[in-house]
């Protein structure tokens, strides 16, 4: 099953590349550099989803003490950190030619950086506590609290006057983007979502193997 997911993700990533470079047109204002959007935006959407999974799995763990829920939260946080890091790095590369700077303390950039640091902290917390049950319990509490930052990140561009553009798709009302660009974006999101599922499935299995090996 995991292997099938992996192949599906690989094929979807190839389709996403095709959509980003062969199907989606060159954007009139920014030029070719706008194609970074097809990796930057799906990365942050997948990161949001990953942290929502951490939130739900953490609540499930606190309610039931099921180790499977804890393993899912742990795996999803790790993969979410990976995609958040990718979001920050690709955003920085996109920012240099369009804004003239690699980084600025804009509301969106700062809130994403805080999100990244919070989940790196989540992973460090897990690593610092040797006792498995206590590590899982503390991490679950942090997994619930850290999720409060997700709406802050998303709405930061609407609540504060920022350099980062407001959302073009995940907002009330119709999209301001041409349908072909929306399609390319959604194909890339599907590819990244499949990759997320593949990584999480593999990481959950590894966590189970590690627990069995350590028992």
């Amino acid at each position: 099953m995991t292997r099938v997911l992996g192949w599906l993700a690989a094929l979807a990533l190839l389709a996403g590349l095709g959509m980003a470079f062969a199907v989606a047109p060159r954007e009139a204002t920014q030029g070719t550099v706008q194609r970074i959007m097809y990796v930057h935006v799906p990365s942050v959407w997948v990161a949001y989803c990953a942290f929502v999974v951490v939130f739900v799995a953490s609540i499930a763990y606190l309610a039931t003490r099921a180790e499977a829920a804890d393993r899912l939260a742990h795996a999803s946080a790790e993969v979410g950190v990976l995609f958040t890091g990718l979001t920050i790095a690709t955003g920085s590369i996109w920012g240099k030619p369009t804004w003239g700077t690699w980084w600025t303390w804009d509301a969106r950039l700062t809130s994403v950086a805080v999100l990244f640091v919070m989940y790196v902290g989540y992973l460090l917390l897990r690593g610092m506590i040797d006792e498995g049950e206590r590590a899982a319990r503390y991490a679950a509490v942090l997994g619930v609290v850290a999720a409060l930052n997700i709406p802050l990140v998303h709405f930061s561009v609407l609540w504060w006057r920022t350099l980062h553009q407001p959302p073009s798709l995940m907002k009330p009302g119709p999209s301001s983007m041409p349908p072909v660009i929306v399609r390319a974006l959604l194909v890339n999101f599907a590819a990244f979502a499949l990759l997320y599922l593949y990584f999480v499935a593999k990481r959950v299995r590894l966590l189970r193997l590690e627990a069995e090996a350590g028992a």
């Binding site: 590349l17 070719t32 990718l86 790095a89 590369i93 996109w94 590894l206 090996a213």
Partner: protein, 52 residues
């Protein structure tokens, strides 16, 4: 605005390296956990479990 292909390629190359690197890390760790410990048959107490 200039096309800035260098920035586009840098972003995609970085994404490819990061994602492939993480995938490789997972595969390597899985191989380590599935490798039998020297002198112990797989499945013996203390030996890592075999892949299911």
């Amino acid at each position: 605005m200039a096309d800035n292909w260098g920035f586009v390629l840098a972003a995609y190359a970085l994404a490819a390296i990061v994602l492939a690197g993480y995938w490789r890390h997972l595969v390597r760790r899985e191989r380590e956990l599935n490798a039998p410990v020297a002198g112990q048959p797989p499945g013996a107490p203390g030996a890592p479990p075999r892949q299911r």
